[in-house]
Symmetry: C2
Subunit: 226 residues, 2 copies
DNA sequence: AATAAAATTGACCGCAGTGGTCAAGAAAGG
DNA sequence: CCTTTCTTGACCACTGCGGTCAATTTTATT
């Protein structure tokens, strides 16, 4: 047993051939993400991963450590694939939000389980008892992200007859609504290779509408001035 | 055992004093709504309801029938307290949606468990295997409701430079976003007697903004014409 | 080749909690 | 008083769980 990144884990797991390691990781993420901590079954995990029961507890001390590992990996995944790509310097709120959603969708399409696991663990409060440190890390991450997401926005772009916070809410709810429905639609159709490029066209059209409706009439964008 | 409303149930349950019947009903709804079918425990139900284990199976044949009963009751509750109050003749879409949301919120505040149970059973697909007839009834109810909700809208109220379906989506997403957040905020504060009247003020303000932004400039509403 | 060490297996264990039963007793009705 | 209805909770068989470990195979070392 050894400490790596704050999580004690048998060395053996890291020495595995990457293929097998990956298979186990995916099985673990999938099980916890779809079932939640309580319902998740180590038997199903080993079955899905194609290893013997004993191996799982050779690599991980117990179910709780296994969950901690899954949780930490999910946080890392979201941080690297999504949060790190956020651009808080973009003053145009719609553009900022747009980039965020597009990053999120790409990360989600690449692997939805970390998202599902975190959402699940967060609302079912599993993580509080089992991994309070990671739970807090997650809370800070989101609180921090949200705070920055809505800070330093160039509100002079907004139409002046509405309060900026109202405009922000309208944009937020609209985009969230659109992405929720898009993701829900993806659940039904199975495909892993969804054509995000066509979906993005709808999305950009939506953003154009939001601009037209909530921003100042664009005298011009400086593009063809003079 | 006897058939009532399509569900076979021991007569005995209906003969109970209303208090006890109500206590049992509430315990059943709460358990299935919060735990889902699999996790729901008959032991917890009898404990919560304050009756002996034997009585539950004296009133209901088994867990499945119990779930059917809870499901049917929830459908009935939503139909009577919410769906029946929808007004599909209102041509102004925002007004129509507004009434719907306010009805829904009132029904939800009165008793959230039927909503939670149906949502849970629907997404976890519990109802398909256990009560396919009720599942289908539920599906038809929602499909029907949605279809009517968005039919026969007076699109001449909308600003003409945007496609009506876009405007409808914007309104839908905004209002849904607002109500989701309002409900989420309610979860955190416990109180059963939430002051909906003040919440409704925010809501109406939101609607006014939507009108200003998505409807034609109101030359007037006929109120002070002439 | 021989030996030691590491990796892997899956049958097995105790256990917690499940849905469901039923003999026994209490209450109510005639 | 007897009969019927209601009510109890100890009890049961069972399932699936997390976790173990003696035995076996594979790999590394000498």
């Amino acid at each position: 047993m050894v400490k790596k990144g704050g999580i004690p884990i048998t060395e053996a797991f890291y020495k595995l051939e990457p293929d097998k390691q990956q298979r186990i990781l995916e099985a673990v993420l999938k099980e916890f993400a779809t079932q939640g901590y309580d319902k998740a079954s180590t038997n199903r995990i080993v079955q899905e991963a194609g290893i013997a029961k004993g191996m799982l507890f050779y690599y991980f001390k117990n179910k709780q450590e296994l969950f901690r590992y899954a949780l930490q990996h999910s946080i890392k995944y979201l941080t690297e694939e999504y949060v790190s790509k956020l651009d808080y310097t973009e003053p145009d709120f719609i553009t900022r939000f747009q980039k965020a959603v597009e990053s999120k969708m790409q990360a989600y399409l690449k692997n939805p389980y970390p998202f599902a696991l975190l959402a699940n663990a967060y609302i079912q409060k599993d993580a509080i008892a089992i991994a309070p440190d990671l739970y807090q890390e997650l809370e800070e991450l989101t609180a921090n992200g949200l705070q920055q997401m809505f800070a330093n926005i160039d509100t002079t772009l907004f139409r002046p007859d509405l309060a900026p916070e109202h405009i922000i809410n309208l944009i937020r709810w609209t985009i969230d609504g659109w992405s929720n429905e898009t993701i829900a639609a993806l659940q039904n159709q199975d495909l892993i290779d969804y054509d995000w490029d066509t979906g993005v066209i709808d999305f950009r059209e939506l953003l154009a509408i939001l601009r037209k409706v909530l921003y100042k009439e664009e005298a011009d964008n400086g593009d063809f001035k003079g």
